[in-house]
Symmetry: C2
Subunit: 435 residues, 2 copies
């Protein structure tokens, strides 16, 4: 039987799980891969560190060249994460003709184009199922099952941490309490900025866009809004109106333009994406021939991610010798990124205003003069004397640009008492709003 | 560029869509497949029939051997459907070393074992993504992404027609009206028996079991109950209790046994499978490393099915020369089919009974003596004098065997006025029943 020798870059949570699956299911995986797979050595920070289980049997090194330059290694698994030195290592391995399996979304999102060039020039192969939505096989599905189809839209819940936090906030928890709970459960890092700001979801969206639409988009080009400004009041309003708030990563073909953004949005209860709870991830794909398909599963965690890495490894083994395998992008298109202002949504807007006559008129006048028309107005119960009250407005679909212009003017009104929340409505409910 | 010559068996709805996609996207598909793909000829019933669009450009024959024996054909696409002669044709093509792409669930379900042997003996290759759940890429996902994982359970909504009918019944339509509506929309055949009886879902489940659990199961071994006995009252009760009724195909590993069945079941609103509406199909897979993943999409229709056929065709092209490709089963296991009576569920039971004292006591006594304990009892409003009333019982989890014994005894009670409905509850709601 053919032998495949694997070098690992990193032996953390994911790395250990990879080692465990590989060693525990050796003969079984060999049968499927058509080759016996052996981990030759792993790059670690400290060779002396005591390791448990399968990972303890793997020879370690602190010198990356022992993996990248080694003649006895065919495939490199990169599970160290972060931009550098991971990016350099991946490039080196590809240039030396090794197949690379990586879970590194940051590197792929920022350097997809450069890596694709290296893959092509060196007839190399790269696999990255684990980089987007962990255990959800979206990369393989886009590459294989949707290969003959023309993709129109992708909408994803690509960050489990924020989805978990939003779930708690929907039940009335404040943002800070919800975040602490996520940290306690191990779902959020000590520094949760990448998750909360939407940057993590944005990186994954960039990878999906490169693959599904053949567009070289850098993550920094994708307008991104995190969940930091959402309040329990907004989530309660959403619930009352029949929606959940989800942090959506959206890419949508409009003519020869591609709209792309990461932003919290209202999703109706009846929609599949609304049923994605806790740390689950989900991707909904609209394509020409197939219609709408949905993929849901665990977005993170050692075992799900490791499972994705192993499936890549087996495919790499099966395709040994196949050149340019699993390239990072579909065939190039003439698509260009659309201007963010041109995107069209209905909106939910929540104002905290003085409770006196003329307030609503002032606001609606500004909205109307910017071509934003109202679908519904809800005034929350009055507070005590002189307390500001919440005014909730649902608009008809309008451009994000028009909405933003109108809001800038409204913000200057003296009747506004802060607390302005604006959330696009991703899909409007068919049923009537109950007021 | 390498050339791949395709012969088609059948040129109906799916066949025409395949031809259309292939011809319209020729160069694009060639780029992905690494080969130019050409339809050489198609087997049809009448060569003289007038055909429109892409299909009109394909040379036709009424002699199957012009495809199966032809030296100028590398790949055979079987989209004629039905058991025979399709089964014989598939086998002949494989024996002659041609790769076969098929959408034929009936043949694969009934003859999976024999076909797998032919594939192995003749180092052939067969691809059948389109045979299960149309456009949902479940076969490829099981073969590639879940390849390293141990699958514990599969639950699917595998028949769009029945799902559509149940949706209408949930809104209060009677079974007959709902069926006629499905026929009018083109979702149900003139003879809808295969859908309604659960046989179609059962065939697909058999294919999934062969692939995911490595168990040679014949469709006839899978206990199957259709939707014919469901009434709008049952669906209304379900809705009131927070459930939808779905025709579920279930396969579940319990120790070294595999439970398998097709049966209507209560699914809580909060569950993803409950959000599968209209003619959508969905498959939920529980596996050891990955956890729960869900795949949803169009289960039928010319274009979705054709899209699955094309993705297979491209994979066949990429794997030309790879032997035993896409075999029909995972590695063999020691699993055996479990006795249907041993399956465990909570149950919903609806009785039509005489409205007099002692009725509930008589029923609960029989249930208790068969180890079926009650979770809730709901009595519907009284009717007119002497009219029988509906009694709804929810049980705690019990074996299907115990439930069935108890019901057989209850059926003999003179107080029962027909109208007995029994539906297992696939997952109990966490929240309390509102009575």
């Amino acid at each position: 039987m053919k032998k495949l020798r694997v070098g690992m870059l990193g032996l953390g949570t994911v790395g250990k799980s990879v080692a465990e699956i590989l060693i525990q299911n050796q003969s079984w995986i060999a049968g499927r891969a058509g080759a016996s797979i052996q981990i030759v050595r792993a790059l670690v920070r400290q060779t002396r560190k005591r390791r448990e289980g399968a990972a303890s049997k793997i020879p370690t090194t602190t010198n990356a060249q022992d993996i990248l330059d080694a003649d006895d290694i065919d495939i490199v698994i990169e599970v160290m994460g972060g931009h550098e030195p991971a990016y350099g290592y991946i490039t080196q391995a590809l240039k030396r003709g090794k197949a690379v399996v990586t879970a590194n979304k940051a590197v792929l999102a920022a350097h997809g184009l450069e890596i694709a060039k290296v893959v092509q020039q060196h007839h190399a192969a790269i696999y990255y199922e684990a980089a987007v939505a962990g255990g959800v096989p979206i990369i393989r599905t886009l590459r294989h099952s949707l290969i003959s189809d023309r993709i129109q839209r992708i909408r994803g819940i690509l960050n489990g941490t924020t989805n978990f936090i939003l779930g708690l906030m929907e039940k009335g928890e404040g943002y800070d309490t919800a975040l602490r709970q996520a940290q306690k459960e191990g779902y959020a890092e000590a520094d949760p900025t990448l998750d909360i700001s939407g940057a993590d979801a944005r990186d994954k969206l960039a990878i999906l866009i490169q693959l599904a639409f053949g567009l070289d988009v850098h993550p920094s080009e994708i307008p991104t809004e995190g969940i930091g400004s959402l309040t329990p009041e907004v989530l309660a309003d959403a619930r009352q109106l029949g929606y959940r708030v989800k942090l959506l990563a959206i890419a949508k073909r409009v003519g020869n333009k591609l709209e792309a953004r990461v932003q919290p949005a209202f999703v109706p209860f009846e929609h599949h994406l609304s049923a994605v709870l806790d740390i689950e991830n989900a991707i909904s794909v609209d394509s020409e021939a197939l219609g709408t398909t949905l993929y849901v599963g665990p977005g993170a965690g050692g075992m799900p991610t490791a499972s994705a890495v192993i499936s890549d490894l087996i495919e790499a083994a099966q395709q040994q010798g196949v050149k340019n395998a699993m390239s990072l992008r579909s065939q190039r298109t003439a698509l260009k990124l659309a201007k963010p202002e041109a995107a069209i949504s209905a909106f939910y807007v929540r104002f905290l205003v003085e409770d006196r006559p003329g307030v609503l008129a002032a606001i609606t006048r500004i909205l109307a003069s910017n071509n934003v028309s109202l679908a519904a107005v809800l005034q929350h119960e009055r507070g005590l004397d002189d307390e500001p009250v919440a005014l909730v407005i649902l608009t008809h679909p309008t451009t994000h640009g028009a909405m933003s212009k109108a809001l800038n003017k409204i913000k200057q009104l003296p009747i506004l008492h802060g607390g302005l929340s604006v959330v696009p409505i991703e899909e409007q409910r068919v049923t009537k709003v109950e007021s």
